[in-house]
Every structure is written in C-alpha cells, then in structure tokens.
C-alpha cells in the first residue's frame, strides 16, 4: 500500500490513528503462565458450552478498549500544538505512539526529523555511574551520537551546574542535582520535534517551571512542539493551537482559545455519560460519586457551595488527601488546595466513605463569572491518585462590591472581590 507523501511544511501528519489496549495486559503487571493457561482453559470451556450465558460471551470484546481511535491531525513545522483532555483521554498514549514506544493498531503517522521528549528525563540513568558516564549513556539512549555529546558536553555540565561532582557516582547526588543533570542532557538533545508531557514530568514546581522555560525557548526557535498539559495557562502561553482529546478521539482542534473554552465548558456533571466510578486500580481507591450544589444560605443569603464526595476503597487506606481546586472558565487558577497545604487527610474504610466539602459565602469572595471546580484524591509523597479535573462549572452572580453601580467581572477585573479602600487623608494625620 503506497501512502501519500508527507506534505511539505508539515512536521507531523497523523491519519486515522488507533491504539487498542487489552485491559488484562495493563492491570496484571506480574501475570504468570498459570493465569494464561487458566484463561485459555476458560475460553476453551466457553467454546465447548455453546449455550454459555450471554454476558460471558459478551465479555470478550470488553477485554479490549480503544485508547485512541480515528485520530487525524497535522502539525506544521514550527507550530506549538497543545494537547488537552481529562485523565485517560489518550494523551499519553498518543505521545507513546508518536515516539514509537508502542506501535498503533490502526492508521499511520509520519514524522519529519528527530523526535525528542522531555518525558524521558533521567531515563536510563544509573546510580553507580558517574555524572560524566551518565551523560554519555543517557545521550546515547536519547539517540545522540558520540560526537554530538562530545560537542555539547561542556554546555550540558555547565547548564546542570554539577561540574564539581562530575566524576562522582550520581547515587550520591542530591535529588536536585540529579534532576538538573538529567534535564540538561534532555534539553541539549535539540530534536526537530519535541514532545512534552507535563503530567509525567518529574520534579518540583521550580523544575517544572524550568521545563516550561526551556519549552518556550524551543518554540521561539521555530521548532515543532507537542505539549500535553492540564495547565491551561501554560497551554495558552505556549501554544497557538490546541487539540482536545476525549475518550481517545478528537473532540476539538483549532485556535487555542476556542478549544480551551470548549474544553472547560464541558464539565463532568454536565455530561450525560456516567463516568463514575473513577478508580485508581493500583491502590484500589476512587471517586464513586460527586454531587455539587450551590444554595443561598438561609441565614445570610450568601451562596454556599457544597460538594458531596463518595470515595470507594477496596481496602482500608490510611491518610488519603482530598484536594479542591477552582479555576476561571478560561483556565486561570484561582485556588489549588492540596492536602499538604490544608492537611485534609482521612483514613479510608473499606467500602464507601462519604465526605462533604463546604465553601461558604463564595459570592462574597469571587467576582462574577463562571468557575470550574476540580476535586482529587492524593496520597502523600505519591501524588494524585484520581482527579475529576473539571467536575462542574459554578456561576457566581454579579455583586456591586465597590458600590459603584458596576459588577466585578472575572475576565475584566480578576477573580477576587478585593477589599481595597481608598480615602483621602489630611497631611497632618499621616505625619504625626
């Protein structure tokens, strides 16, 4: 089958791409032969018994699902394309297919030039090897030739700021030094196309900021970038266009503002499809249900937000954090309250656990406009387990906060009802 050539000026062309997972293959990381023989016997038995109950026969196709289906798009050279979508929408799968970590099951993609990705930061580092040795090893793993590494070696060491320890095994490095060195190698790869997955990016906020900075550099140099992120501000800042993936298919593709707006307006509780429960299979915990209500308080008349959260745990799990976030309908962060900040951590009982999240008198705090609510479960030192990152949109009505006859609008004035007072004072008062 002859495929049409990659059009000039295009860096990536994706046509009808699909990737199928076997669910068993994902969950059972330590599958043994016995399980396979067992399932083989079961399916044989099923074939023998022709009058198998319907559900048993229907289960076979259920064992696979399409993580990506019928995805087609093109990226021009020098374009920075943002890829957004909720967890499990297929963003990471798309990157894995494009980086050739796994082959697609349908369609094809053509890529011009070398692909690099910052999700590989530190991959292949070996603790027993020195910084110098790891630079060469890691460079080779990322596809650099020895002469390229030779040429950039000094730059890499300088950027990482580890010159003094370059002949020390990296297992003695602090985690900061280790990350800096790893990032420095990846950053000097200089691929024609850069794939960045913010979700998988390692490191603390400062390190991620550095990654974003480097990405900005790369984009400025006219290189092609695919940027996967949950951070709408970053996407808006770096990308001209965006791709919104939903359950493995393209929901929208176009100018970044339009796509983000459509994405944020499409919240969990607005949709008809029931996504619950959202489970973390590894820890056996998840959000079984989520209900939001906004009511005027009977006492003050102010608007109170109540979130009823049902958490399901397969077994008892201590210290699970509950996080709450709010952003504007254009994706600007208003609050992001994680369990480390708030200390809202609970020991989960096996089965159902009910929680009530309350925010009172929101309309006395926030400017008029639409806000998007996120709720997540986290484990200290592990990270977020499950996330409903756009649970619902809440509307805050206008308040004439300053008594000027004008409403405070989130898009014009910012999200806060800020207690600013300005009054004239007499010189005598202030000197005193």
């Amino acid at each position: 089958m002859a495929l049409p050539a990659l059009r000039p000026g295009m860096a990536i062309e994706v046509v009808g791409l699909g990737k199928q997972y076997r669910i068993g293959g994902i969950i059972d990381r330590n599958k043994t032969l016995r399980d396979s023989i067992g399932s083989l016997t079961r399916s044989k038995l099923g074939a023998l018994r022709a009058r198998q109950p319907r559900e048993a026969r229907a289960r076979r196709p259920d064992n696979t699902f399409w993580a990506l289906r019928d995805v087609s798009f093109g990226v021009e050279r020098g374009e920075v394309l943002g890829v957004i979508g909720r967890n499990g929408a297929g963003k990471s799968t798309l990157l894995k297919v494009l980086t050739r970590i796994m082959p697609p099951d349908e369609g094809h993609a053509r890529i011009r030039g070398r692909i690099g990705s910052l999700l590989e930061v530190g991959t292949g580092f070996h603790g027993e090897l020195t910084g110098r040795e790891n630079i060469y090893l890691n460079g080779a793993i990322l596809g650099m030739h020895r002469y390229e590494i030779d040429r950039k070696y000094d730059e890499i060491v300088e950027f990482a700021g580890v010159a003094r320890f370059i002949d020390t095994p990296v297992k003695r490095y602090s985690s900061g030094m280790y990350l800096r060195l790893a990032f420095s190698v990846a950053a000097h790869l200089e691929p024609e196309i850069l794939l960045v997955d913010e979700v998988l990016a390692v490191g603390d906020a400062e390190f991620q900021k550095k990654c974003l900075g480097k990405m900005g550099d790369v984009a400025g140099e006219g290189r092609t970038v695919l940027f996967v992120s949950h951070n709408m501000d970053a996407v808006r800042q770096l990308c001209q266009s965006a791709l919104w993936l939903e359950s493995g298919s393209i929901q929208a593709l176009g100018p970044v503002e339009d796509v983000i707006k459509a994405y944020l307006a499409d919240t969990t509780l607005n949709r008809t499809a029931d996504i619950f429960p959202v489970m973390d299979r590894h820890y056996g915990i998840g959000i079984a249900d989520l209900r939001l209500t906004m009511d005027a308080s009977p006492v003050s008349g102010a608007l109170d937000l109540r979130v009823e959260l049902d958490v399901h745990a397969d077994a008892a799990l201590p210290r699970i954090g509950i996080g709450f976030g709010l952003m504007t309908d254009t994706g600007a962060r208003v609050v992001h309250l994680d369990e480390r900040l708030t200390g809202f951590m609970f020991d989960m009982q096996p089965g159902s656990n009910h929680f009530l999240l309350e925010c009172s008198a929101l309309d006395r705090l926030l400017a008029a406009g639409d806000y998007v609510v996120s709720v997540w479960l986290a484990m200290p030192n592990i990270g977020n387990l499950v996330e409903i990152d756009r649970a619902a949109t809440i509307h805050i009505p206008g308040v004439d906060f300053y008594g000027s006859g004008h409403y405070v609008d989130v898009h014009k004035h910012g999200p806060l009802l800020f207690p600013l007072q300005i009054r004239r004072v007499e010189p005598a008062h202030s000197v005193e």
């Binding site: 599958k31 082959p103 090893l137 793993i141």
Partner: protein, 284 residues
C-alpha cells in the same frame, strides 16, 4: 523526475509509524544504526557489574576456578569420571569456560527486557539491542577466565596446534549464537510471563548436565554421540577441549548438527522476539 520541491534538509528523515502485524523483518539495519547504543549498554553492564565489589573483576575468574576445584574433587577424585586421558582439573575447566559464558549470557539475556523495563516503557530504540548487549557483555569475563586456562595449559604442558586453534573462534561463535537464541526467546517470554525468572536457574542446571562439562561425550556410542550434537553446547565444549588441549575428538557431522540447531534457535528467537516486542511497553 518532476517531484514537487520540498524543504527537506539533506539527511533529514521521515519516520513512518504504522501498525505491525504478524511476523516482521528483524530490522537489523536499525540495530546497526543504533550500534553506539549497543556499545554503551555493554559498557554500562561491565562498568556496573563490579562496582562496589571488593574483588571486582576477579569474580570472573573465581567463579569458574572454584567450580573447577569442586568438580575435580567430587567428579574427578571421588567419582572417578573419565576425562579422555587429560588431567581432570583442566578437562573440566576447559568445559566450564565456554559453559559459564553460555549460562551467564542466557541468564542475563533472559532478564534483560525486564531489567530495562523503565527504558522500554519510555524511550524508543531497537529492542533487540537489550538482549544482544546482555549476552555479548559476557565476553570480557570469558576472556579473563581464559587467561587461567592458558596458565593451566602451560602448567600441564598441553599445547594446541595452530590448525586446531582455528576451531576455537567458531566454537565461541557457536556458544554466542546459542546463548543469544535462547536468551531472545526467554527475554521476550519473560516480559509477559515472569515464570521465566524461576525457570532459568533450572534450565541452566539441567542443560549443564546434558552437556559434557563434567564428563566426556566419548561415554556415548555412535550414533548417539553424533545425535548428541543436537545440543549445540556439546560441540562447543568438545570443540574447546579438542582445539586447545588436542584431546578428545571432534565429529564433523556432530558439529554440523550443532551449527544448524544453534542457527534455528537464533533465528527463531530473533523473529519471536520481534513479534513480541510491540507489546513490551504494555506488559513489561
């Protein structure tokens, strides 16, 4: 030729990503393209192997030497197993030397994909490089241990002829190819079925007793002795003894049988590996 003008820089390549189904080519040209990575993997394995060990590379010698001593006492002295007229210590060591290379290569090869799971899940490179480097990485240990054999040959006054020495590289190649073939099969299976981890120690143990390491193959009568060559390691071990010590005898037909068996193992292993590798990132 009026191809449309494109702005492709010279040497800039276009990668086509498409579904892989059924049996695919070995992709050896791509392995060649990544040969530097192959070298770095081997280098890493050697470098890391003896870091933070007290005796370092001496282990490469100590293991076969101590095994040889134990074998000499139990099989040579106590059980009085015949050794084709050569002193038992050098008889067993000449067998242990290629055997250790084979068994280590097989074990490392079988574990290679699982050990580098982090890489396999996050970076693209020709996957064949992983088991190949794991097996080939055993060569330096082999050469170190070989020095001991040279010392023993001088001590016992057993010298090879120039002509018989020519067989030695072929034997090593045969051991390498067999080890690689089995390693490829097992590493691909290991990615999906961790049973392999438990099978490997048994496999190497049984295989050793099915190979004339502690006894000579001359204990068998023809045609069984020639058929014995279906186990390629028989020819490797016997070939080592013949070419280095000038003792024992080689049967050309046995050798041919071994070469064919080894080649089948290697090719089937490589194609099987290529067929399985597309799922590695999912299952490993």
């Amino acid at each position: 030729m009026s191809a449309p003008r494109t702005e492709i820089a010279p040497g800039e390549q276009i990668t086509l990503i498409k579904p892989l189904r059924g049996w695919v080519s070995l992709g050896l040209n791509e392995v060649w393209h990544y040969r530097e990575l192959l070298f770095y993997f081997i280098w890493r394995d050697i470098k890391v192997r003896y870091k933070q060990t007290l005796l370092g590379a001496a282990w490469a010698i100590l293991q076969p030497v101590f095994t040889m001593i134990v074998f000499s006492i139990f099989f040579g002295q106590l059980a009085k197993i015949p050794s084709d007229g050569i002193p038992y210590p050098i008889f067993s060591y000449a067998g242990l030397l290629p055997w250790t290379f084979f068994a280590t290569g097989l074990t490392n090869g079988a574990n290679s994909i699982v050990r580098d799971a982090n890489l396999v899940k996050r970076v693209y490179f020709p996957r064949l490089i992983t088991p190949i480097s794991a097996v080939v990485g055993g060569l330096p240990d082999f050469f170190l241990a070989f020095l001991v054999l040279v010392g023993m040959m001088i001590y016992y006054g057993l010298f090879p002829t120039a002509a018989s020495l020519l067989l030695l590289p072929l034997c090593l190649l045969l051991a390498l190819s067999t080890s690689m073939g089995v390693g490829l099969w097992l590493s691909a299976l290991n990615a999906e079925y961790r049973d392999v981890r438990y099978v490997v120690p048994f496999l190497t143990q049984f295989w050793m007793y099915a190979t004339p390491v502690v006894y000579p193959s001359s204990l068998l009568d023809e045609p069984w002795r020639t058929l014995y060559g279906l186990n390629p390691m028989v020819s490797v071990v016997e070939g080592f003894r013949w070419s280095l010590l000038g003792q024992g005898e080689t049967v050309p037909l046995m050798f041919g049988l071994s070469a064919v068996a080894s080649l089948i193992l290697l090719l089937s292993g490589a194609f099987f590996f290529r067929r399985m590798e597309r799922r590695f990132a999912d299952v490993v």
